[in-house]
C-alpha cells in the first residue's frame, strides 16, 4: 500500500500552562499495530482524544483514507471508522451485555437480532461472551470484551486501545492478542497504548515515543530492547529498584480464616484468607481487579471490621479496631482509589496529610490540630517523594494522578509503619516515579516492616516481592516464594483463564 490509512501531521494542542501535544506527526498503515509510548503526562491521552474527536487540535491536520479528517465529536469519529476501548469501562453493572452494547449505538437493532450479532462477532474473534449475562457478574476481562465487541460491531478501520492489558491475567492477554492479530490480518489498524514494553515487543509493528508532548523517537519494537524503549520514554537511564536480600524476622501480622462480606453491591466477599506477614517481608498479591482487592485492604486497614481471631497484630486481636487505632499500633494502608478514598479531592495537601497521619505523627493535641506541624509534614512528603505541586496549600484535585499517588504513598511510608498495605501503588505513575515508589517500599521492608503489595502489574510484583499469592474471587492462594515462579504458574494461580479458548485464526 502506498497511501497510509491514517496520517497525523503537526498536531499541536496547548492547554493553559502546558503544551500537551507539540507538532506530533506519524502514520498508521492498514493492518498495522502501532504502539504509542510515553510516560504519564507525555500527551498520549490528548493525542488519542484528538483522533477520537474529544479534543480539537490548535494546529495540524489529520487524514483518513487520503481525505481530511476533522471529527467535531466522537460520533463523527465513529462514523468515519474510528473505535476506542477506554481504560476505564463505561458499562452499567445492572444491565446485561446486549443492553450495554445497545446503549452505545445510534440505532440499535431489536434485542434478539443484536444478541445474535454479538454471539457471531464474539465467536469469530475468539472472545466468548454470553449476551444475556448481567455485567455486574462479569470479570474485568469479560467486561473488556463487551467494550471490544461494542467497537467491532461498527467495523472500525482504526481501533484505539488504551492500556488494555492492565486488568488481564497472562492467559487473558494471550486471548486478547490473538483477537488483535486476527483483526490486523483483516486490515484493521490498531493504535495500542501501553506501559508494558514486553507486550509491545510481542505485538506491535511500529512504535512512536512521546515525551513532554513531542515525538522523541520511533522504533520497531521487535528489534529494540525494552530497556532502550524505556530510556527513550524517560529521556535518561532508568533506575531499577534494588534490594538487599534481608532476612525475615518475627511474625508481625497473622491473618487466620478471614472472611467478610463486601460492603459494596457487586463487590467480592473475602473467603477464608490465611496469611502470615513477617518483619522484612514483601508479600505480593496478584489478581485481576474486582477479585476482592479493595475488600482485603479494607479488612486490614480497619474500614471493614471482621470477626474475632481473624486478624492479629503481634498477638493482639485487632479485627474489631477502627482505622485510627490500627494506625496507632503501626498498621498503615494506601487504597487504590486516590481521589475520594485515599485523599479528599477538594481539601489541601496539608489537610490530606492530617487525614491519616494525625496519630502517628502526633499532629493533634487533645483534639486540636497543630496546623503548622501538619504543614511541615506535608512539605516533607512533597520533598521526599518529589510531588510536583506549587505547595502544600494546593487542593489534592489539582495534582495529576501520578503525583497524588506519590503523595499518598509518601504519607504512609513517612509514618514509619510496622505493616504497610498498598493497593496498586504505581498505577498511573510514570516509570521513574514508579521505580522510586518501589524502592521506598523495599527500603521500608529492609528496616523491618512487613509490606503487602496488592497489584495487577505482575512485573511489579515479581520485581519486589519475596512471596507471591493470588487473589481469586475473594480467596487467596497459598503464598509461594516469588523467585523462580514462571508466568504460566502465576497465570494458573490467578486462575482467571479457565473455560476460555484462544481464537482460532483461519
Amino acid at each position: 500500500m502506498t497511501e497510509p490509512l491514517m496520517k497525523l501531521e503537526g498536531l499541536t494542542k496547548a492547554y493553559p500552562g502546558v503544551v500537551a501535544n507539540s507538532d506530533v506527526s506519524f502514520e498508521i498503515e492498514a493492518g498495522e499495530v502501532h504502539a504509542l509510548l510515553g510516560e504519564n503526562g507525555a500527551g498520549k491521552s490528548t493525542l488519542v482524544k484528538t483522533i477520537y474527536g474529544l479534543v480539537k487540535p490548535d494546529t495540524g491536520t489529520m487524514t483518513l483514507d487520503g481525505k481530511p479528517f476533522t471529527p467535531a465529536e466522537p460520533r463523527a469519529a465513529r462514523a468515519a471508522g474510528i473505535a476506542m476501548v477506554f481504560q476505564h469501562f463505561s458499562l452499567f453493572e445492572a444491565l446485561d451485555v446486549a443492553e450495554n452494547v445497545a446503549l452505545g449505538m445510534e440505532n440499535p437493532p431489536p434485542m434478539s437480532a443484536l444478541a445474535q450479532r454479538i454471539k457471531e462477532v464474539s465467536e469469530t474473534y475468539g472472545l466468548p461472551l454470553d449476551p444475556s449475562r448481567i455485567v455486574g457478574d462479569l470479570s474485568a476481562g469479560e467486561r473488556q470484551r463487551v467494550e471490544i465487541i461494542r467497537c467491532l460491531l461498527q467495523d472500525p478501520k482504526v481501533l484505539i486501545m488504551d492500556e488494555p492489558t492492565s486488568v488481564l491475567t497472562p492467559q487473558e492477554v494471550d486471548i486478547l492478542f490473538e483477537t488483535l492479530r486476527k483483526l490486523k490480518s483483516e486490515g484493521t489498524a490498531i493504535l495500542y497504548i501501553s506501559h508494558k514494553l514486553e507486550e509491545i515487543r510481542a505485538l506491535c509493528d511500529h512504535a512512536t515515543v512521546l515525551r513532554l508532548g513531542k515525538v522523541v523517537g520511533t522504533c520497531v519494537p521487535r528489534d529494540t530492547s525494552a530497556r532502550e524503549m524505556a530510556e527513550l520514554m524517560v529521556g535518561g537511564t532508568l533506575h531499577v529498584p534494588e534490594r538487599e536480600a534481608g532476612e525475615t524476622g518475627e511474625t508481625l501480622m497473622q491473618i487466620n480464616g478471614l472472611s467478610a462480606p463486601s460492603p459494596a453491591e457487586f463487590g467480592t466477599s473475602l473467603k477464608d484468607i490465611t496469611l502470615e506477614i513477617r518483619a522484612g517481608d514483601v508479600i505480593g498479591i496478584g489478581g485481576v481487579a474486582g477479585n476482592g482487592q479493595d475488600e482485603l485492604l479494607g479488612a486490614l486497614s480497619g474500614e471493614i471490621r471482621v470477626g474475632a481471631g481473624q486478624v492479629a497484630f503481634m498477638g493482639q486481636d485487632i479485627g474489631q479496631l477502627p482505622p485510627d487505632a490500627r494506625r496507632t499500633l503501626g498498621i498503615c494502608a494506601a487504597p487504590e482509589e486516590r481521589m475520594g478514598h485515599a485523599a479528599a479531592p477538594d481539601m489541601s495537601l496539608t489537610e490530606n496529610a492530617a487525614l491519616t497521619a494525625r496519630k502517628r505523627k502526633a499532629l493533634t493535641k487533645k483534639g486540636f490540630i497543630d496546623w503548622g506541624k501538619t504543614r511541615d509534614f506535608a512539605k516533607e512528603i512533597i520533598e521526599r517523594f518529589d510531588v510536583r505541586t506549587p505547595g502544600p496549600g494546593n487542593a489534592a484535585r489539582s495534582l495529576s494522578g501520578g503525583n497524588l499517588q506519590k503523595f499518598v504513598i509518601g504519607r504512609e511510608i513517612l509514618q514509619d509503619p510496622q505493616i504497610l498495605i498498598v493497593n496498586q501503588p504505581t498505577w498511573g505513575v510514570d516509570a521513574s516515579a514508579a521505580a522510586a515508589i518501589r524502592q521506598a517500599l523495599l527500603d521500608l521492608a529492609a528496616k523491618g516492616a512487613g509490606v503487602i503489595v496488592i497489584s495487577q502489574d505482575l512485573d511489579e510484583l515479581m520485581e519486589i516481592s519475596d512471596q507471591f499469592a493470588a487473589l481469586n474471587e475473594g480467596r487467596l492462594s497459598k503464598p509461594r516464594p516469588a523467585q523462580g515462579l514462571t508466568v504460566e504458574e502465576i497465570g494458573l494461580m490467578l486462575g482467571g483463564a479457565h473455560d476460555m479458548e484462544v481464537a482460532h485464526v483461519d
Binding site: D346, E351, I369
Partner: protein
C-alpha cells in the same frame, strides 16, 4: 456557546466576593421589581436597608435586629455542622418548639420561685435538652434503621406544632388567664425572663448565639472534629478510611443542632415572645436553613447572613407600612437573595468561558 469549566482550585476571590455580588444583584433586581410595581425603587431599597440601621427610628429597629437575628444565627450554626457533613436536619423548627416547651415547662413548674440563678439556668438546660432529644429521634432512626433524616425531622415539625397547641390550650394554660389560650408571661416572671436589657434588645439568646459563633469557629479551624465533619461531607469514603465513625458523627451533628435550636426556642419564649401560644413559632427554623447557606456554612458568614436576613425582615416591614409594598413583593425579594447567591456561588468552583459554536 457559554460553557462552565471546573477550576483546579476554588477561587479565593469568588468565595469571598460571591455573597457581596449576590447582594448587589438582588438590589438591582429588587429595584426593577419595585419600579414595575409603581413604587420608587431607590426609596424602597433605602427603606429596607437604610432606614432600620440609620433612620430616624433606628432606636426602635436596632433592638429588633438583635431579637430577630439571634435565633436565626443560633439555629443556622447548628444546622451548618450537619450540612457540611451531609446530614440534613430540616426540622429545626420542631426542635425550636420542643426546646421552648421543655424550658417553659420548667419555668412554669417553678413559678413563682424567686431564685433567678436557679430558674433561668434550669430552663436553659431543659430547653437545650428538649431540642437535643427531639433531634435524636431522626438521628437514632437513621443510625439504627437507615431512615431518611430529612423526612423524619421535617415530619416531627408538625408533631411538635400539635404538641405546642395542646400545651398552649391545656397543661401550660395560664390559670389566671380568664380562659384565654396561652401560658403565663415568662418575660414578666423575673426569675425566668431571658431579657438582659429589653430596651436594647439584649437577651440571653443573643449572648449564647455569639458564644456559639466563637465555638463553631474554633471547631472548624482548629479541632479534629470540625475537620472530620468537613471530610465526611466532601469525601465519605476518605472519611471512613481516615477513621471517622459515621454513626457518631450523625448523632453529634443532629444533637448539637437540636440543642442550639432548643436554646433559641427557650430564650425566645421567655423573652421576646413571652408566652407559650399556639402561634409561637414563626418559621425561624426554616429561615435558618437559608441563613446557613447564605453564610456559606461558615460561622462568621452565618453571623453576617443572620444579620442581613433579619435586616430584610425588619426593612421589609418598614417598606410595607410606609410605601404600601405588598408582603409578597418582600418575599420575592428575599427569595432572590438566596437564588442569586446560589447562582453566583458556582463561580467559586467554575469559571465561565465563551466558546465558538461547534461546527456541525
Amino acid at each position: 456557546m457559554i460553557i462552565l469549566e471546573k477550576r483546579p482550585q476554588p477561587s479565593q476571590f469568588w468565595s469571598y466576593g460571591a455573597p457581596l455580588v449576590a447582594v448587589i444583584v438582588t438590589m438591582i433586581f429588587g429595584a426593577a421589581l419595585f419600579a414595575v410595581l409603581g413604587k420608587p425603587p431607590m426609596e424602597a431599597l433605602s427603606k429596607i436597608f437604610w432606614e432600620p440601621l440609620f433612620g430616624e427610628f433606628n432606636f426602635f429597629y436596632l433592638p429588633q435586629l438583635l431579637i430577630k437575628g439571634a435565633p436565626l444565627v443560633a439555629i443556622a450554626l447548628g444546622l451548618s455542622l450537619g450540612f457540611k457533613a451531609g446530614i440534613w436536619n430540616i426540622g429545626a423548627e420542631g426542635q425550636y418548639i420542643i426546646g421552648a416547651l421543655c424550658g417553659a415547662g420548667v419555668g412554669l413548674a417553678l413559678y413563682p420561685m424567686e431564685a433567678r440563678w436557679l430558674v433561668l439556668p434550669a430552663m436553659l438546660i431543659a430547653g437545650a435538652f428538649g431540642g437535643f432529644a427531639w433531634a435524636m429521634i431522626p438521628g437514632i432512626l437513621r443510625v439504627k434503621f437507615n431512615t431518611n433524616e430529612i423526612l423524619v425531622s421535617l415530619m416531627l415539625v408538625y408533631v411538635a406544632e400539635q404538641l405546642l397547641a395542646a400545651m398552649a390550650l391545656g397543661a401550660m394554660k395560664n390559670p389566671e388567664g380568664m380562659g384565654f389560650p396561652g401560658s403565663r408571661n415568662l418575660s414578666q416572671y423575673a426569675s425566668a425572663s431571658s431579657w438582659i436589657d429589653q430596651s436594647n434588645g439584649m437577651h440571653w439568646g443573643v449572648v449564647l448565639a455569639l458564644i456559639a459563633v466563637i465555638f463553631a469557629y474554633i471547631l472548624f479551624t482548629k479541632h479534629i472534629l470540625g475537620f472530620q465533619i468537613n471530610l465526611a461531607g466532601q469525601a465519605p469514603r476518605a472519611a471512613a478510611f481516615s477513621g471517622v465513625n459515621p454513626a457518631r458523627l450523625v448523632l453529634f451533628c443532629l444533637g448539637i443542632s437540636g440543642a442550639l435550636a432548643g436554646i433559641a426556642g427557650l430564650t425566645e419564649v421567655s423573652g421576646p415572645a413571652g408566652v407559650v401560644s399556639i402561634d409561637f413559632n414563626v418559621g425561624y427554623g426554616f429561615t435558618a436553613i437559608i441563613v446557613a447557606f447564605l453564610g456559606r456554612l461558615h460561622p462568621v458568614g452565618i453571623l453576617m447572613a443572620g444579620a442581613l436576613m433579619a435586616l430584610t425582615y425588619i426593612g421589609g416591614d418598614v417598606a410595607q407600612s410606609s410605601l404600601g409594598l405588598p408582603k409578597a413583593a418582600i418575599q420575592v425579594f428575599q427569595g432572590t437573595l438566596l437564588f442569586s447567591l446560589l447562582g453566583i456561588d458556582v463561580l467559586t468552583n467554575y469559571r465561565v468561558r465563551m466558546k465558538q459554536g461547534a461546527v456541525a
